[in-house]
């Protein structure tokens, strides 16, 4: 079985893109990734197009995107796992290559969310809960994660200030990432005084709807060694699911069980433990999610995620830098592009190309990509 490398990465700037269509933002990320890999489009033997298709005006978008990228007649199809779409896409690309089916595969994640109004987006997202038993009561994504936030606060004493510190950190690092949506630092008071969205989550506890695309070029070992001196290897993969309805989950509602399972698989496959991870990209769709992720991924003890954030352990120079590209909260969260963007950040770090935010001697990175209300989770471990 061939090892699989990430040999090229690309990403658009995240944020509103009223000037470009889905095909055009996908092209921007794709071109950057192909140039980064220093290969030609003809080397690519399959494309995996990832998006949460309910945001797309285009139905079955893989068709138009593969055409626009010049990837016909190679195989192409769409992968949908809501916010984890391109994290799952990477796993499928890995399978294509390690099985020997293909040598080089492009994984393209994209989303254009700003063509819909905010209320329309909430409507669409509310229907990402069970439409038979939950959506009929006006559920929303912030609402679902707020139920987790309240439960975590009740059980472990997690505070709004601890949540706010995650937002402050991620906005700080976004100012160092030219591709991030938000380019301005925010203060603890600004977070705490921002308007309530779904109590206890306030405006700055929530990520923003965004447009953007990200692309990964994956290749088998033999090909990777031919085109690059610094391939980054896919060392561990984990993918798991949880029940979609909150009522079928563990009643504690303060942990995402799919994260714990996916992480265990990925650590095992990579032969590493949480303390070996030099930096992590975790799915901070909301501040509470980042805190719960610390616990589910084993970065800190169960229940201590709040103080782990507040004590600064996840800043550059801390125990484990997390989301030092701005995370979903401040880099932006164009749903289908997020997983691939996380991998891009890790690849840049593991190659030593991260500039001001470079983690010294970074050798092992972890990406955690959660789908929807936490019903899908992809964990990927990369090694330099």
């Amino acid at each position: 079985m061939s090892k699989v490398a990430v040999i090229g990465v690309g990403q658009t700037k995240f944020g509103g893109r009223p000037d470009a269509s889905i095909k055009e933002i996908a092209f921007e990320a794709f071109k950057e990734a192909v140039d980064d890999a220093q290969i030609s489009v003809d080397d690519i033997q399959a494309s995996i197009i990832c998006s949460a298709t309910h945001y797309d005006k285009q139905r079955t978008p893989a068709g138009v995107i593969a055409e626009y990228l010049g990837l016909n007649p190679q195989p192409t199809f769409n992968v949908e796992a809501v916010c984890a779409s391109s994290g799952v896409g990477l796993r499928i690309g890995w399978s294509f290559i390690s099985s020997g089916l293909h040598d080089v595969v492009a994984v393209v994640g994209f989303q254009k969310m700003t063509e819909l109004s905010s209320a329309e987006v909430q409507e669409v997202m509310g229907r990402s809960g069970d439409v038979m038993w939950e959506s009929p009561f006006g559920t929303t994504m912030p609402g679902y994660f707020a139920l987790y936030a309240r439960a975590h606060m009740q059980t472990y004493g997690t505070t709004p200030e601890q949540l706010a510190k995650v937002a402050v950190k991620n906005h700080y690092y976004a100012t160092k990432n030219p591709k991030a949506m938000f380019q301005k630092e925010i203060t603890l008071d600004e977070v705490l005084n921002s308007r309530m969205i779904a109590s206890p989550l306030k405006r700055y506890d929530c990520c923003s709807n965004s447009d953007g695309a990200a692309c990964l070029i994956l290749a088998k070992e033999e090909f990777a060694r031919k085109v690059t001196d610094n391939p980054v290897w896919v060392a561990g993969l984990g993918l798991a699911s949880s029940p979609m309805t909150l009522t079928s989950r563990d009643t504690a509602l303060n942990s995402f069980t799919c994260t714990a399972k996916a992480a265990k698989e990925a650590y095992h496959m990579a032969g590493v433990t949480p303390s070996d991870i030099d930096l992590a990209e975790v799915h901070d769709c909301f501040t509470i999610t980042e805190i719960i992720n610390y616990e589910d991924l084993g970065f800190c003890e169960r229940g201590k995620g709040g103080s782990f954030a507040a004590d600064g352990h996840t800043y550059l120079g801390g125990k484990i830098p997390v989301n030092i590209d701005g995370g979903l909260l401040a880099k932006g969260h164009p749903v289908g592009a997020t997983g691939a963007s996380q991998i891009r950040t890790l690849v840049k770090q593991l190659r030593g190309e991260a500039g001001e935010t470079q983690v010294k001697d970074a050798k092992i990175g972890l990406a955690h990509n959660l789908g929807g209300i936490g019903m899908y989770c992809a964990v990927t471990i990369l090694k330099a």
């Binding site: 209320a119 969205i197 909150l246």
Partner: protein, 136 residues
């Protein structure tokens, strides 16, 4: 018979569980139980994951305890005139849990994890039927 009246907005009208809506209109909260493995389901299911299922309807008392809650100030388009509203997850004395609106009679100040609640069927204007969590 239909399922199209359940909830403030319906997205599902065809199901094997249409009786749930009729019973709700009659003031009853119904779950289902597998006669083979004994598993109790709420929300009800027509099928048991044991695959040997033999599902029967069971009336629940509605008595439950609050697990977690949130007040929503920003809503999907079809709920925009309802904000703010509270949603909660509560656990029935019988074991299963429910996600439901909290009655407007309960203020955020008095909501406490573990508080006793009762899930009550109610009819809305226009003949829609829902349930909500109230003080017992």
């Amino acid at each position: 018979m239909s399922f199209g009246k359940f909830g403030k907005v319906s997205y599902v009208s065809e199901t094997k569980l249409q009786k749930f809506e009729q019973d709700l209109e009659a003031g009853k909260i119904m779950g289902t139980r597998c006669k083979t493995c004994g598993k109790l389901y709420f929300p009800p299911r027509a099928d048991c994951t044991c695959l040997k299922g033999n599902i029967e309807w069971v009336e629940l008392t509605g008595n439950c305890r609050l697990l977690t809650y949130s007040t929503l100030f920003f809503a999907p388009a079809s709920f925009r005139y309802e904000v703010p509203y509270m949603l909660a997850v509560a656990q029935f004395d019988e074991g299963p849990t429910v996600l439901a609106p909290l009655s407007k009679d309960i203020t955020e100040d008095e909501v406490k994890s573990g508080m006793s609640l009762k899930l009550i069927p109610m009819e809305l204007a226009g003949g829609r039927v829902i349930y909500e969590l109230r003080k017992p």
